[in-house]
Symmetry: C2
Subunit: 221 residues, 2 copies
DNA sequence: CAGACTTTTGAGCGACCGCTTGAAATCCCT
DNA sequence: AGGGATTTCAAGCGGTCGCTCAAAAGTCTG
């Protein structure tokens, strides 16, 4: 065979897809070279021939997923001209990735990076563009909010929360306990967007409160 | 030796502590019987003699941690009479557990439960009392908030966010992507507590806005 | 001290791991 | 068709895994 043989590329692709599926379905610990090769329908030695190591294959799968999705995310977010468009577009693209298992690959590697020596720096480097994208999405949301006076506050919160969820997913794994302050800051931001221009001393106004931000009714005897 | 020999109990305790440490320091994948026994300073066969299996030891370690802490959490939360007390007590106890690595044990098992067949139901059963405790804490916070008119809104948010963080930690691992709606609901709750009685149509009041909930200034050309 | 009982130990079994190797299979080029 | 480069494969190496087992070592009862 030759490097330009389409069957060679097909093998690499089969291994990448099998690695993605394995990572999603049986986790990092279960994604062994033999298991991935079995799913790809080829010999396990090909993992090492094409990707040097199992870790190399898994990181290549992460690269593959990233490259296929980053551009679409960027276009989708940049193209939004209203908050409604941003909400819809972000949720649509995110839903695609959840269905395709891309997010599972990411989280699986994030979890593994926390305990596999040396893997953390590799994963960190590959997360940088995602972090930048998420920051851009937040900035874009903040840019659109003042222009969207006709959008209900719930919509504004929805997009911000959805963005924060992605940001949290990408940034938070492994050090959840250190994020109290960060989460607090974000909660205030969400609140600011829910109530963009509240009264200064804010006297009671129970007539409208219930329909806007109902207080939970958790019973406690 | 005999069952009442204090040295037998010491062995069990050493194994439990070693399992906790290993789970925290080298993760689930690294917490093998040989590794735990090495840390405990005994033979690896004792893991199986005393706990039947490695998984059994790890779950026993979780039980051990839970039983040692649940009572203290319950007393601490139930004893709080003001929001300030609830904030301080919750943070103090949580900080203890973080230092002791109890939270790491929990999250490590939660992560493992997502990919180790059969482990999920075992972990789930052991999480039930923690979930109930977290729900109680939320209910207690909501109960105290209306009584705490003199407490700054930041304090109210702080306790709620800290509680939500714990709730998220206990409930969220493994299905992060399914929590958009839940997170949204909670963000609205936090917002409601930050701004308990906002103005209805809320005309602009830029004099006070900046000092209360500053809008992020993320640059975007 | 002898025997019953529990705890601890070291050796070992089969299975799977990441990875290597040498040879076979396949394709391109002349 | 034949030579050379590349891709694929079966087999195997050293290692760790969970777990078992027979025997040693300890403690208690007679």
């Amino acid at each position: 065979m030759t490097p330009s043989d389409p069957r060679t590329a097909a093998t690499r692709r089969a291994l990448l897809d099998a690695a993605t599926d394995a990572l999603r379905e049986v986790g990092y610990a279960g994604a062994s070279a033999r298991e991935i090769a079995r799913r790809a329908g080829c010999n396990q030695a090909l993992v090492f021939y094409h990707f040097d190591s199992v870790t190399g294959l898994l990181l290549a799968a992460l690269d593959d997923v990233s490259e296929r999705r980053l551009a679409e995310y960027r276009d989708t977010l940049a193209g939004a001209r209203t908050l409604r468009e941003l909400v819809d577009a972000a949720e649509r693209v995110l839903a695609e990735d959840v269905d395709a298992g891309h997010v599972a690959v990411l989280t699986e590697l994030l979890v593994a990076a926390a305990s596999v020596p040396g893997l953390d720096v590799e994963v960190e480097a590959r997360l940088a563009p995602w972090r930048a994208l998420a920051q851009d999405a937040v900035a874009r949301a903040f840019e659109l909010v003042p222009l969207a006076g006709m959008v209900p506050p719930e919509e504004a919160a929805h997009v911000v929360v959805a963005t924060l969820l992605g940001l949290e997913l990408l940034a938070g794994a492994g050090d959840g306990l250190a994020t109290t302050d960060r989460l607090f800051d974000r909660a205030r931001t969400v609140a600011a967007l829910l109530e963009p221009e509240p009264g200064p001393s804010a006297g009671p106004d129970r007539a409208t409160e219930a329909s806007r931000a109902p207080r939970p009714r958790t019973a406690r005897p």
